[in-house]
Chain length 231, copies 2
């Protein structure tokens, strides 16, 4: 059984009035919650009974990879909760997602809750440092490849029509230099549950690709970092 | 009195379960709603009574700038509702936001509802074509300027610490070629109500800048398009 790992956004605005039924239900369903800081937002969640004494809260300012690995091995679901915005984007947490993608892709199911765009879903589910990224459009309709750019290591993000995934990957192989891997996230608009495929370069061959499904789009994050993955 | 123009996101996931109390309340409070398409999502909103016979729904596939201008002149609030994700990002609607920013900045108040990140807020509130954009980081901590890039017209997005807005704008003036204007959006995490400043280049001088408020960040979208603004 794959255990759920929830990535919970907190929408911008009036705090609790902007939290959805789904987000409240999800928070109440888990015991272990990783947070950026013990701040006013958590206090309000406690005041309203959404977080209670049964929750165990861990700060992402401390190293938490070993703890998360322990939860995965014990098949205990956990959540990463942003106190403002989405988790893992200009905030800590992506190292836990990287742990899931690099070592436990068959053990966990990443489930974003309350994100308002497939872009936000991609940013928090890719497990990469996306403090800087370039969104290069929708493939095949309207997009650019930057083969003329220097090897600056910046992640590239594309929306890709499901029926053209193979063509897209072939074009990335041909045009984008220094690709380390692709993280392909099946579009979540129709079904919350994620289908994440990680294609490493050049180890994996095309056999690792998801089939071209005409009924769903993908978010593709292209990793061109020089760091060792699987921090 | 400035009339509210609501930009309503529909979070990814389980449709209505993911709609917040704020979003439902906002939809019920307006009469005029611009939508991308008359689709299953609207049907569900109608079934649940969130949209009713008192609502007037207009398709963004038709030209709607004149209609929106009429609402602003008559001081009638309206909403732009995304059926999936955020409005105006890879979907129609940005021409209505551009109308507000270019001609009615003192008449309207842009209010995003249900967006999960300041980035998403910036994308739907900037009134620009952001089908392709480059997110270049957080100023001053961790960011890049691309003075070496060709004039490719791609919008650049930055998060900017409130206390450093003047320094940021000076650096943009010095380093980024072919800037047409800046759209500065005061960070909405603390207060939903927006403060949008549009700085045109080179007509406006520094007097147009918001003061450097240490208590809030900004999202800055740099317009380098060659099109005439105020479509």
């Amino acid at each position: 059984m794959r255990i759920p790992v929830f990535l919970i956004a907190s929408p911008i605005g009036d705090y609790l009035q902007d939290l959805s039924v789904s987000a409240i239900h999800t928070l109440k369903s888990v015991t272990h919650v990783f947070v950026e800081a013990n701040d006013k937002y958590l206090e309000r969640l406690r005041e309203r009974g959404i977080l209670s004494d049964q929750h165990r809260v861990y700060l992402l300012s401390d190293p938490q990879v070993d703890r998360a690995r322990g939860f995965i091995r014990a098949q205990e679901p956990f959540a990463i909760l942003a106190s403002s915005g989405i988790p893992c984007f200009l905030d800590p947490g992506s190292e836990l997602v990287a742990l899931c993608l690099d070592h436990h892709l068959d053990d966990v199911e990443l489930i974003p809750v309350g994100v308002s765009s497939a872009l936000d879903a991609g940013l928090c589910m890719c497990g990469l440092d996306v403090d800087i990224f370039h969104f290069n459009g929708h493939y095949p309709e309207h997009h650019i490849f930057e083969s003329s750019l220097p090897d600056n290591g910046i992640p590239l993000v594309y929306f890709v029509r499901g029926a053209t995934v193979s063509a897209f990957v072939a074009e990335v192989r041909a045009k984008v230099p220094n690709v380390r891997r692709l993280v392909l996230l099946k579009d979540l608009r129709k079904k919350r549950r994620s289908l994440v495929t990680v294609v490493r370069w050049p180890e994996d061959d095309d056999g690792q690709l998801p089939p071209d499904p005409a009924d769903a789009d993908f978010v593709c994050v292209i990793d061109r970092s020089r760091d060792e993955p699987g921090r």
